[in-house]
Amino acid sequence: MIRKLAKNIGKYKFDTFMSPLMISLEVVMEVIIPLLMAKLIDDGITPGDLSAVVKFGLLLVLSASISLGFGSLSCVFSANASAGFAANIRKKMFDNVQDFSFRNIDKFQTSSIITRLTTDVSNVQNAFQMLIRIAFRAPIMLVAALIITISISPTLSLTFLLVIPILIIGFIFIIKSVFPVFTEVFKKYDGMNNIVQEDIAGIRVVKTYVREDYEKEKFRASSQEIYKYFSKGEKILAAMSPLMQFSMYVCILVISYFGAVLIVKGIGGNMITTGELTSLITYSGMILSSLMMVSMVIVMITISRASAIRITELLDEKSDITNPNNPVTNVNNGDIIFDHVDFRYSENSERKVLDDINFKIKSGQTIGIIGSTGSSKSSLVQLIARLYDSTAGSIYVGGNNVKDYDIEALRNSVAVVLQKNVLFSGSIKDNLRWGNENATEEEMIRACRMARADEFIREMPKGYDTHIEQGGTNVSGGQKQRLCIARALLKNPKILILDDSTSAVDTRTDAEIRKMFKNELQGVTKIVITQRISSIEDADAIIVMEGGQLNQMGTHEDLLATNAIYREVYESQSKAVMENA
C-alpha cells in the first residue's frame, strides 16, 4: 500500500528527498548549539575571558543562522512535496473515477467517492508531511542528543536508561488504552448526529405527533453516553503531560545532583564542567520531547492509515468495461437485438436483475417500456449503451455486438437520458454543449424546440445564457427534464433512450414532445420508459417488464387485450378519464 501511494510523489521526488535532508542538517545544527553554549560558559565566563565569549557568541549566531537557513529550506521543500503529492494523488484518483463504469460507481457509492477524494486525501497529505518532517526530525534529534550526552558524561547518561523506558511504556499504555475508548466516542457521536439529523429533517412529524419531549429524552440519553465515554478517554489522556513532566523533572534532579558531584570531585576519574551541566539539561529536554514527537507521529500515522487504505482501494479499482482491440467505430443504424440476456449487478449476487431477455427492435421504431419500480427497466436500457455489461447473452446494436464497439462511438450514437439526471453549474448553453461541443446556436435551438424547452428558455431573463445552479436547483423538475432531453438530442444519436424522462412534464407538453420526435426523428430508434400509459400508447411496440423478466411485448391494443399487468396499469390511470367520458 505504501509503495503504491509513494509512486504518486512523481516529480516531487527531489523535494521529498531534500526535505528530510534539510531537516537533518537543521537538527544537527540545533544539537550543536548547546555544546557551543557550554564552551562559552567554560572557556569564556568561568575564566573571565571576554574575547572567548565574543568568539563563541559569533559562532553561536552563525550556527543559529545556518540552522534557520536549513530549517526554512526544509519548509519550502516539504511544502512543495506534500502539496504536490496530494495533488498527484487527487488527480490520479479523479482520473480513475472518470474511467469507472456504472458498476464501479455503484460499488463505491457517490458519497464515499467524494469523502475519499476530499477528507481522506487531506489526512494522507498531513501524514505525509509529518513523515518527511517530524518522522526524521525527532529520531535524529533523539540519537544526536543521546550521542553528545554520552560523550559528555557516560555516567550521567545512565539517567536516560531509567527515564526513557518509563516514558515509552507510559506512552504505549496511554495510547493503547485510549484508542478503543475513542473509537467508541466516534460511534456515539455518529449516533447523536444521526438523532439530530433525523429530528431536524422530520421536525414536522415530531411536532405533529407532539413528540418533542420524547426526542429530548432520546437526545439526552445519547448526549450522556458521549459525556461518559469522552470523559473516560480524556481522563486517560490527562496523564500524558504529567508523565512528560515527571521524566523531565527526574532528569533535572539527577543531573543537578550528580552533575554537581562530577564537577566538584568527579566520579571514578570522570569530571564535567559547569557549562556541560547546563547543556546536559538542555539535551535531556531535547531527548524527551523528541520521544514525545515520535509517539505523536505514530498516532497520526495510525489514524491516517484508514484513509490511506480507502485511497488505495479507489486507486486499485479498475473499470470492468474497456475498449476491445480493433473496435468498430461506426454505428450503422439503430437496430437493437437482445439475445438471451442475463444481468446481475455483481458476479456473486444471487439475484438475476434481468433474466433471459430476448427481443428485436428495428431502426427508427418507437418502443415503450412499462413496469413497476424494481422491474429492472433502467438496467435493461443501460445495457444498450454498454453502461453495464450483460452477465450472459449478447446485445447487438446496428448489427454488431455492443462489446465490439469503441465505447465512445457507441455512447455517442446511443443517447441515454437518465432517470436520475443532473445539470451542471454553468449557462444553459454550457449544459447543452455536453451533447455536442461544437453545436451552433441553430442546432441548440432546434434541439430545445424538439424537447419543448425553447419557450421557457426564451422567457428567462438571460435566455440561453441563463446560469444554472449546481444540481439545476433554479429550474423546475419539468424544465430540468426537458433540458436533459435537449442535451441528449444534440448528440444526433441513432438511438434515443428516455428513462422516465418526462415524469414531471405535464401530459400536453409530453404529447407535443412525442409528436416532434415522430416527425423530426424518423430514422432514430426511440425507447421510452414511463409510468404513464399515454406516453407510449401509440408506440410501435410496448415491452412489459415484471420482476426482471420480459412479461410480454406487443402493441397497445394487443397488450390491452391479452396482458393483465398492462391492463391493470391502464385502468388505474384512466378510470377517471373514462368516468368522465
Binding site: 560558559i41 479523479f94 407532539v210 480524556e234 424494481g374
Partner: protein, 633 residues
C-alpha cells in the same frame, strides 16, 4: 502535547462581540463547576511555579553549591542533597497539580458541553416551524458538530493552556526580575522584537491560508458536483473534458496549499532560532557583565537566565495561538447561543383534549379511561365548563396569512369541511396548498381571519392537544432509526403490540412487514435503503393510523411512488380515511376526483371550489388541469 502552529487568519478580540459570549460561557462554568474551576486555577499556578523552579534552581546550584565547593579538598554534599530534596518536593506538587488540573478540566469541559448540547437541543424542539424554514439543515447541524467541537477544544485545551501560559509568563517574569533587572530588560526587548517578526509572518501566512481554503472549497465543490453527476459524464463521454477542468483547479490548489504550508511550517524554525539568538545575546551580554564585575551578575545568574529566557518566550509565542483558538471558538459558541436564544413557539391555548364517556342523558363526562371518545374541554371566560365532542368539523373564515409581514401568501381563504368529509387542494407549487394545512395544526399562526375546529377557534386550543387531533402523512416519510415497531409507535407512545399490528393491518403494511427477516423488529438504519419508498410510505400511514386522529392531512403522500405501488398504498390510505375528516394535497388528479370538495388554488387565492362534476362543468382551471392542458409543477 505541543499544538501545531495555527495558520488561520487572526481576528481581533472585540469586547462587545466576544465579551458577552465569554461572560455567558463563564456563567456555565461558575454555575455548575465554581469550586472545581477555582481548584483548576490554583493547580495551574502550582504547575507553572514548578516549571519555573528548575531554571531558578540552576542559579542556586551553581552559585551556592558548585562554585564554593570547587577546589575544596573535602566537599560536603549534604546541603546540596537537601536543596535537591526541596526541588523534588516542588516537582511532586507540580506533577500532581498538572495531572489534577488536566483531568478536572477535561471532565469539566465534557460536562459543560453536555449541558450546552442538551439545552440547545431542548430549545430547538420548542422552536416554531418558521425557524426551521429560515435555517438549512446543514446550518443547524453544524452547531452540534463543528461549533460544539471547537468549543469543547477551547474549554478542554485552549483555556487551560492559555491560563497556564499566562501564569508561567508571570512567574518567570518575576523570577527574572528578582534575579536581575538589567538582563530582564534585555529579554523583554528581545521578546518584543520576536513578536514583531512572528506577527509579520503570521499575517502573510494568514493571507495564504485564506487563499488555500478558497481553493480547497472550489476543488472539493467541483469534485462533489462531478462525482454526483458521474453517470451523466459517462453517458456523454465527457471524461477527458472533466479531467482537464479538474487539473486546472487541482493545480491552483496545489500552488496555494504549498504557499500556505510553507509559511505555516516556517514559524517553527523561525521561532526556534530566534530563541537561540536570544539565548546567545543573553549569554554574551550576561557574561560580559559578569566578567566586568557588574554587581549581582554571577555565573549562576547568567546560566539560569539562559534557561529562564527560553521558558519565557515559549509561552509568549503560544499565547497568541491559544488566544486565536479561543476567539474562533467564541464565534462557534455565539452560534450555539443564538440557537438557544431563538424564540420558542408560544402557546396561549387553554382548551384541552380529554377522553369522555357518554352519560345516559346524552351529556359528556370526563374520564381518565381510554374510551376512544374524545371531547374538547372548554373552560369559558365566564367560568362555564363545556365539553364539545370531537368530530373533526373544520372551518376557515376569511383567513389571510404571510410568512413575512407584508408578503401575504394566502388571501381570504374561506371553506368548510364537515365531519368525515374529504377536501382536496389543487394548484401549482407555491399556490398555498401546504400552507393551508400548516395553519390548521398551527405550525404557523394566521394574520387575519379565523380557523375553527368543531366550532372552537384553534387559537384557544393548547397546541399539543390540537396536534393530537390531527394526523399527517407527508411525501417525505421521515422515519427514524429504530425498529419498525418503534416507528409505528411514534404515533402513540403507549400503544401495545396488538394496537401496532392492528394499525399496520389497517394501513396495508402488515403484509410486507411480515415478509421482512425480523418482522416488526426489523431495524431501520440511518438513511436506510432497506425499505422501498412505497414501504416507507405504508409505515408512515400506519404511524398515523395508530395515532387514530379525527382529522387527517395527506400532503403529496404518494407522489414519489409508481402507479402500481400507489394502488396498494392508496388502499391503505382509503381505509385510514374512513370516518375521518381528510385534507388531501395530490399531484395526480386521479386520486382526488372523488373528494367531497375540491379547492383550486392559485397564488394564494381560491379560484374554484366545488365537487368534481361541478368543476368539470365549469370548464375552468380544474378542467384544464384535468384534461392535461395545464402543467402542474
Amino acid at each position: 502535547m505541543p499544538k501545531p502552529f495555527n495558520a488561520g487568519p487572526r481576528e481581533k478580540f472585540n469586547i462587545k462581540k466576544h465579551g458577552k459570549t465569554l461572560k455567558r460561557l463563564l456563567g456555565y462554568i461558575f454555575r455548575d463547576y465554581k469550586w472545581r474551576f477555582i481548584f483548576v486555577l490554583v493547580c495551574i499556578l502550582f504547575s507553572a511555579i514548578a516549571g519555573a523552579a528548575g531554571s531558578i534552581f540552576i542559579r542556586i546550584l551553581i552559585d551556592d553549591y558548585i562554585t564554593p565547593m570547587i577546589g575544596v579538598s573535602d566537599p560536603v554534599f549534604s546541603g546540596l542533597l537537601t536543596a535537591i530534596g526541596i526541588l523534588a518536593l516542588i516537582y511532586v506538587v507540580g506533577i500532581a497539580s498538572s495531572y489534577l488540573y488536566n483531568r478536572t478540566m477535561v471532565v469539566m469541559a465534557q460536562g459543560i458541553m453536555k449541558n450546552i448540547r442538551d439545552e440547545m437541543f431542548s430549545n430547538m424542539q420548542d422552536l416554531p416551524i418558521s425557524y426551521y424554514d429560515g435555517h438549512t439543515h446543514g446550518d443547524l447541524m453544524s452547531r452540534y458538530t463543528n461549533d460544539a467541537d471547537t468549543l469543547r477544544q477551547m474549554l478542554a485545551q485552549s483555556v487551560p493552556q492559555f491560563i497556564s501560559s499566562m501564569a508561567t509568563v508571570i512567574v518567570i517574569f518575576f523570577a527574572m526580575l528578582f534575579s536581575n533587572a538589567v538582563l530582564t530588560l534585555i529579554v523583554i526587548v528581545c521578546v518584543v522584537l520576536m513578536m514583531m517578526i512572528t506577527k509579520k509572518i503570521a499575517s502573510v501566512s494568514g493571507k495564504y491560508f485564506v487563499a488555500q481554503q478558497k481553493s480547497l472549497g472550489e476543488t472539493n465543490g467541483f469534485i462533489e458536483e462531478m462525482v454526483e453527476g458521474e453517470k451523466v459524464i459517462k453517458v456523454f463521454c465527457h471524461e477527458e473534458k472533466t479531467k482537464e477542468q479538474f487539473d486546472v483547479l487541482n493545480d491552483k490548489l496545489r500552488v496555494n496549499a504549498t504557499m500556505a504550508n510553507k509559511f505555516a511550517t516556517l514559524m517553527m524554525p523561525v521561532m526556534n532560532n530566534l530563541g537561540n539568538l536570544q539565548y546567545v545575546i543573553i549569554a554574551v551580554i550576561g557574561s560580559a557583565l559578569c566578567i566586568l564585575g557588574f554587581p549581582g551578575i554571577t555565573l549562576g545568574v547568567v546560566a539560569s537566565f539562559m534557561q529562564l529566557s527560553k521558558n519565557f518566550t515559549m509561552p509568549i509565542n503560544q499565547i497568541a495561538n491559544q488566544f486565536n483558538s479561543i476567539i474562533v471558538a467564541l464565534a462557534g459558541a455565539d452560534r450555539i447561543f443564538q440557537l438557544m436564544d431563538a424564540k420558542k413557539e408560544e402557546d396561549e391555548g387553554y382548551v384541552t383534549l380529554v377522553n369522555v364517556e357518554r352519560q345516559p342523558d346524552g351529556t359528556l363526562k370526563e374520564t381518565k379511561e381510554k374510551t376512544n371518545l374524545w371531547a374538547w374541554k372548554h373552560l369559558h371566560k365566564d367560568g362555564k365548563l363545556e365539553y364539545v365532542l370531537v368530530q373533526g368539523k373544520v372551518t376557515f373564515n376569511d383567513v389571510d396569512f404571510a410568512y413575512e409581514p407584508g408578503k401575504t401568501v394566502l388571501h381570504n381563504i374561506t371553506l368548510q369541511a364537515d365531519k368525515a368529509e374529504k377536501i382536496a387542494f389543487v394548484g401549482h407549487t407555491g399556490a398555498g396548498k401546504t400552507t393551508i394545512t400548516n395553519l390548521l395544526n398551527r405550525f404557523y399562526d394566521i394574520a387575519d381571519g379565523k380557523i375553527r375546529i368543531d366550532g372552537i377557534n384553534i387559537n384557544k386550543i393548547r397546541k399539543p392537544d390540537l396536534r393530537h387531533s390531527l394526523g399527517m402523512v407527508l411525501q417525505d416519510t421521515n422515519l427514524f432509526t429504530g425498529t419498525i415497531k418503534d416507528n409505528i409507535r411514534f404515533g402513540k407512545l403507549d400503544a401495545s403490540d396488538e394496537e401496532i399490528i392492528d394499525a399496520a393491518k389497517r394501513s396495508n403494511a402488515d403484509g410486507f412487514i411480515r415478509m421482512l427477516p425480523d418482522g416488526y423488529d426489523t431495524m431501520l438504519t440511518p438513511g436506510g435503503n432497506n425499505l422501498s419508498q412505497g414501504q416507507r410510505q405504508l409505515l408512515s400511514i400506519a404511524r398515523a393510523a395508530v395515532a387514530n386522529p379525527p382529522i387527517l392531512v395527506l400532503d403529496e403522500a404518494t407522489s414519489s411512488i409508481d402507479t402500481r405501488t400507489e394502488a396498494i398504498v392508496q388502499k391503505g390510505m382509503d381505509r385510514l380515511m374512513e370516518g375521518r375528516t381528510v385534507f388531501v394535497i395530490a399531484h395526480r388528479l386521479s386520486t382526488i376526483h372523488n373528494s367531497d370538495v375540491i379547492v383550486v388554488l392559485d397564488q394564494g387565492r381560491i379560484i374554484e371550489i366545488g365537487n368534481h362534476e361541478k368543476l368539470i362543468n365549469k370548464k375552468g382551471m380544474y378542467y384544464q388541469l384535468y384534461t392535461g392542458a395545464f402543467e402542474l409543477e
